[in-house]
Symmetry: C2
Subunit: 400 residues, 2 copies
């Protein structure tokens, strides 16, 4: 009997020179065309953008964070609202994580630093206490003690009611040794089984469960973990944990993992959102990405702009910083080819002025642009795969 | 020869029981149907709202503040952008003040406190140095010294390029005696003449000049000032200065002033924006109002809601505070009869949650609602005047 009767994934186009593919991922709240970018509405809101803004920017799917929502306003309250879709007025496909990611990153250091392997040198005493049962942690809001178990994560995610949900895992820190990584991976596997059992017990057909591949930067461990998720009745897979200290190492880890994963299931790459990284991930066969980068960048005045349109020729930068005084009398839009409301309405000079004046409109306007850019990027990538000219699309975005 | 060939004001409907009237105020950027509310886009931006949002909320006209813009980004830069309309992407009618209002309120105490005559008891040393020539003041941004003269105010407002502009006056403090108020009024009159002469010298037909009636709470002075503006070649009039210590006194000052002012010219009431105050002002014949209240209130979680829809019966409050914990599980919209995006999309509970989480979407969502309410209020008032049932409209809004 099919555990996921209301979900489906069908690859529709596949390149021959690499594993890049287009697919249709069906959920009860709509069909996502992949490769797709999942935007972070961390606390049940896209910072500064309404669901209508997100739709206008051609957004297919958003993500909220279980960790934040279980602490405030609490999953019971969201359940009373009729679930997260109702609560935040987003009617499209939605994804929630397990909550583990934030617990461990707030305990061990920043999430992004972990995934991307930035060695910060100092590793503060962990605020998380790990046991076989689950993870004990203190709330980032008021310091109150909580425990997150695989069962609890499933219960909370059921209350939230997102379409795509994730097993609880330990997001293994980067700075630990192989022995720790291996123990942690096996713990995550046991938690994955418990997550699935809890999920199965209450499965109402409205949610589909992702298993997570751990194993850090170690190919043999990644193989064990990929084999494990393949063997389980998950709807889809997510590549988690540390992806290494360099881009090269990240690409190698993703590449070798993707060679093992069951190609019939969609694969999500957790926490990666740079434009060039996305092209790389797509070529390895990744179907969905998420990252706070596009919207967090916007809140610091960074507007996504592909390298070919950068003021300095041959730069590898993927954004411009509108706070820079070079823009104070630049009357052009961020990107003359962009169709977003921001580029159709405001000059770089006006956005520069708003940023300097700490006017919140700057943040929502630049966020809208960045969301639009990411969605256009993914649409261009899908088109490139369909028309067998992904290399050209990549050239256009990265170094035309 | 007509000083204002591209401007016009035509009253189209007039009540008989009071001076309430509907009119058409034509500007180069469009026609405003009066009575109308002018929203404060203080620093060339509606906080958290785009021009598109403002249009969707049926906004006819907005106002920016000369004081803020002359200090940052500077009127020269806005002139380079092609003027304020172009700079901030607002294509409709626009109003700028003279800059004096903020100089004096930042020098003497809060603007609102002055207009509404709140006696604070302590009056800090003024930061403004008044001379016959103009007002010397220090920038609120960096403390740098500036001087604003009537000529300078006209030059800056010409650079900004709003449709409706205002002579420089001294916003007479509330706590001064009659002798000061009289001297100040005469100074304002001399400045008004200088403002007009500077305006006339460069008049390009794209702007129309408002004269200001001063005279504080003294009927004899208000009469002198109203006679003065009537005698000058202004397009329109604005009632400025202190309006007294109580609502009753404010109404009396406005009432007696309106009896003298030339009824062929539109009249603006500076800084008044409460719902009941607007009804009162309309009955005295006021054509336009402005106030930061609706949008500032929103930024503190206050959503405009007419008394009849208030949780406590018979309250005179004109808003609810969504930060209040009574709303944490209130799944209804702010106002079920409101057609704004906020009321069509979000529950009070969700807005409460966003406010508590300090999410900026709350501020823009509630601002949009409040702007919509003010525009609906003015539309209802105009309809009431046209259909000779303003009293019924007032009852509906204030105590149905």
């Amino acid at each position: 009997m099919n555990t996921y009767p209301n979900f489906d994934f069908q690859p529709t186009h596949q390149l021959t020179e690499n594993r890049a593919r287009v697919g249709l991922l069906s959920t009860p709240h709509g069909v996502i065309e992949t490769p797709a970018f999942i935007f972070c509405a961390t606390r049940a809101v896209m910072k500064g953008l309404s669901p209508t803004d997100m739709q206008a920017a051609h957004t297919q799917i958003i993500l909220s964070n279980t960790y934040h929502l279980m602490l405030s306003p609490g999953s019971e309250r969201i359940a009373k609202a009729g679930g997260l879709h109702q609560f935040m007025a987003w009617d499209g496909p939605m994804f929630t994580d397990s909550g583990g990611f934030q617990i461990f990153s707030l305990g061990h250091g920043s999430v992004a630093a972990e995934i991307k392997g930035n060695r910060s040198g100092n590793h503060p005493q962990s605020l998380v206490k790990m046991t076989e049962k689950g993870a004990e942690f203190r709330s980032y809001l008021d310091g109150s003690k909580h425990i997150l178990t695989p069962e609890k994560s499933m219960q909370v995610q059921r209350d939230l009611g997102a379409d795509l949900i994730v097993v609880l895992d330990e997001c293994t820190p980067f700075h630990v040794d192989k022995a720790y990584t291996e123990r942690s991976m096996h713990l995550s596997h046991r938690w994955a089984v418990r997550s699935y059992e809890e999920f199965k017990l209450h499965n109402n057909g409205k949610q589909a469960l992702y298993g997570i591949i751990q194993g850090g930067v170690y190919p043999d461990l990644r193989k064990i973990s990929a084999d494990f998720v393949n063997s389980q009745d998950f709807f889809a897979h997510a590549i988690g944990g540390s992806l290494g200290a360099s881009k090269q190492q990240m690409y190698e880890v993703v590449d070798m993992t993707m060679q093992i994963l069951n190609p019939k299931r969609p694969v999500h790459l957790l926490g990666i959102g740079g434009i060039s990284d996305i092209f790389q991930g797509v070529e390895y066969g990744i179907d969905t990405f998420d990252c706070v980068h596009p919207t967090r960048l916007a809140r610091h005045g960074g507007a996504l702009l592909r390298p070919s349109l950068q003021p300095e020729p041959h730069t590898k930068r993927e954004h411009i910083n509108l706070k820079n005084s070079r823009y104070q009398e630049d009357w052009s839009p961020i990107d003359p080819e962009c169709n977003c409301h921001t580029c159709k309405t405001y000059s770089r000079a006006y956005l520069h002025y708003l940023l300097r004046a700490h006017e919140m409109l700057a943040l929502s306007a630049i966020s809208l642009h960045n969301v639009t850019v990411m969605n256009r990027l993914m649409a261009d990538i899908r088109q490139g795969i369909k028309q067998q000219n992904l290399a050209q699309v990549k050239k256009y975005w990265l170094d035309r």
